[in-house]
């Protein structure tokens, strides 16, 4: 079986200057990979390249074995990729219900209304906190609820690969913990997950493997539970001595 996501020698950046320098990633079907790294290491650039918001200068990307580097974000979403950006990740002027509907209706234009309701019920089971907020404008939600709506909208696409860009950014510890409970439930459904996350402990807790990106290069790739206690993570990511707890 081909990998859910495969990156080969990927170079990408902005205005002719590469930020990523030959990144290789292989993510198997149903796997979960959390990418960590210091600020400016190219994590968000990596995700933008994966989802089609940034053109590669070199290298290749494949989804389920199909080359996608020439496809835009819309075409990749039709191939089963759903992306949740770090900021501006909901349509603030639309209600929560319309945000969720929008995640569904353009990728399933011919499916029956019952299929839409079934999917909505399924997604709201993963994010019960937003069930009674469907008629509220998404711009009026708290940061934590907004993140939940963003991920729930992405899941309405029935993706095979979910890509999350720092879901805990800007959230209080309590809201971040609540959000990651929902992400863990989502993960348990068997979806393939690629995530970048500054909160190393939370990010690695829901992943099989962790990857440390530094200066646009993969510096470390290991099982998530091992990475948390790996001294090299401290040196590469935090720039601290071993023994300092990794809590961000």
């Amino acid at each position: 079986m081909s990998a859910a996501l495969s990156l080969r020698r990927v170079h990408a950046g902005y205005a002719g200057k590469d930020i990523l320098h030959g990144v290789d990633i292989e993510l198997e079907q149903g796997g979960a990979l959390t990418v960590v790294g210091p600020n400016g290491s190219g994590k968000s650039t990596l995700l933008k390249a994966v989802v089609g918001l940034l053109t590669l200068s070199r290298g290749s990307i494949a989804l389920d074995g199909k080359p996608v580097e020439a496809l835009n974000a819309l075409a990749r979403s039709r191939l089963g990729l759903a992306y949740v950006p770090q900021e501006r990740n909901v349509f603030a002027n639309l209600t929560v219900g319309d945000n969720l509907r929008l995640g569904w209706e353009f990728l399933h234009p011919r499916m029956e209304a019952s299929a839409w309701r079934d999917r909505l019920d399924y997604v709201l089971q993963l994010f019960p906190e937003i069930r009674d907020r469907l008629s509220v404008s998404a711009g009026l939600l708290s940061g934590g609820q907004r993140q939940m709506v963003a991920i729930a909208s992405a899941l309405m696409q029935t993706p095979s690969l979910l890509v999350l860009d720092e879901p805990s950014a800007g959230l209080s510890p309590r809201n971040a913990a609540l959000l990651f409970e929902s992400i863990a439930r989502t993960r348990a459904t068997g979806i393939t997950l690629l995530m970048i996350e500054q909160n190393v402990k939370l990010g690695l807790a829901v992943a099989d493997r962790g990857l440390v990106l530094v200066a646009g290069q993969v510096r470390l790739l290991a099982p998530a539970h091992e990475l948390l206690t790996d001294d090299r993570l401290h040196r590469l990511y935090l720039g601290t001595q071993p023994g300092v707890p990794v809590t961000h």
Partner: protein, 292 residues
């Protein structure tokens, strides 16, 4: 007094449809479409062609002409704006000025510069004697038509915008085009649909203005300033708010005739706009934007 208020609302409806068209294109593409006046003129003449040249009743001429105006706007997008997508709003604005010149001169070339009028049966005005205690109300045939076409167009666009799949796509693209793309919304299809609605609204606006007065190749330019003012008054990135702006401008202009000569009424509407811009430059319903 009642007559003045009614006349004000009808004047507002004349501006409301093109103002809504302007706000619609601005909310999605973030550029001020200066070709709107010319789209209005061209649309009015397209309906004139069916109504007078082919001799169709005005209702049928409008039913065919309004969608045709929408298709012309889609064709202009395909020829001019689509190749410029991604450029700055200023580039698109300048391009729209070029489009306006081409459209207006095409009309002048095809129909000449002489004022023309639709072939509409003259009819007696409707009087409402029971309202005489409020100063009386007299509604002429053209005003009925303007109210009917204007209000029904606004209801259709409001329903489309609020409840349809296309409306959600338009609002999503207006809010965040990149996020809309990753949720599966096609930007090109949504923009084409927006141009269709915008062109149809401009054509309907041209029809109403032609019914109220006459058709001439400059008619769009004469309305461009009030249309921009109305859209800005409501909040130019809020399409339905432009309707509010247009109605306020219409009523304020008509009410001003109670205290100043009627040929100064346009000045009053702009006075209201200037005062609002001083305290709330993003419009009554618009949102302040911070640029860093």
């Amino acid at each position: 007094m009642l007559q003045i208020l009614f006349n004000g609302l009808v004047s507002g409806l004349l501006v409301a449809l093109p103002a809504l068209a302007l706000a619609l294109s601005f909310s999605i593409l973030r550029f001020a479409n200066f070709a709107l006046g010319a789209m209005l003129t061209l649309g009015a003449y397209v309906i004139y062609f069916f109504n007078v040249v082919l001799g169709w009743p005005i209702q049928f001429a409008a039913l065919v002409g309004i969608p045709l105006g929408g298709l012309i706007a889609v064709a202009v997008d395909w020829l001019v704006y689509l190749p410029l997508r991604g450029r700055s709003g200023v580039t698109l604005l300048v391009a729209s000025m070029g489009v306006a010149l081409v459209m207006e001169n095409a009309v002048r070339f095809a129909a000449g510069g002489t004022p023309l009028g639709y072939d509409v049966e003259p009819a007696r005005p409707t009087r409402f004697p029971s309202l005489d205690v409020l100063g009386g109300l007299r509604v002429n045939h053209e005003q009925w038509l303007i109210a009917a076409v204007g209000l029904s167009s606004l209801v259709v666009v409001w329903a489309l915008f609020s409840y349809s799949r296309l409306g959600r796509a338009m609002r999503a693209v207006a809010d965040n085009a990149a996020l809309a793309a990753v949720r599966g919304v096609s930007l090109n299809r949504t923009v084409a649909a927006m141009w269709f609605v915008s062109g149809a609204l401009a054509t309907a606006g041209g029809l109403l203005i032609g019914l109220d007065a006459t058709l001439d190749p400059q008619m769009g330019w004469n309305y461009l300033l009030p249309v921009f003012a109305a859209a800005i008054l409501g909040g130019i990135d809020k399409p339905m708010a432009a309707v509010f702006g247009a109605l306020v401008m219409g009523v304020a202009s008509e009410l001003s005739t109670l205290v100043i000569p009627s040929h100064y009424r346009t000045v009053v509407a702009f006075g209201v706009l200037a005062a609002l811009l001083l305290v709330r430059p993003w419009g009554v319903f618009g949102q302040a934007r911070v640029t860093r």
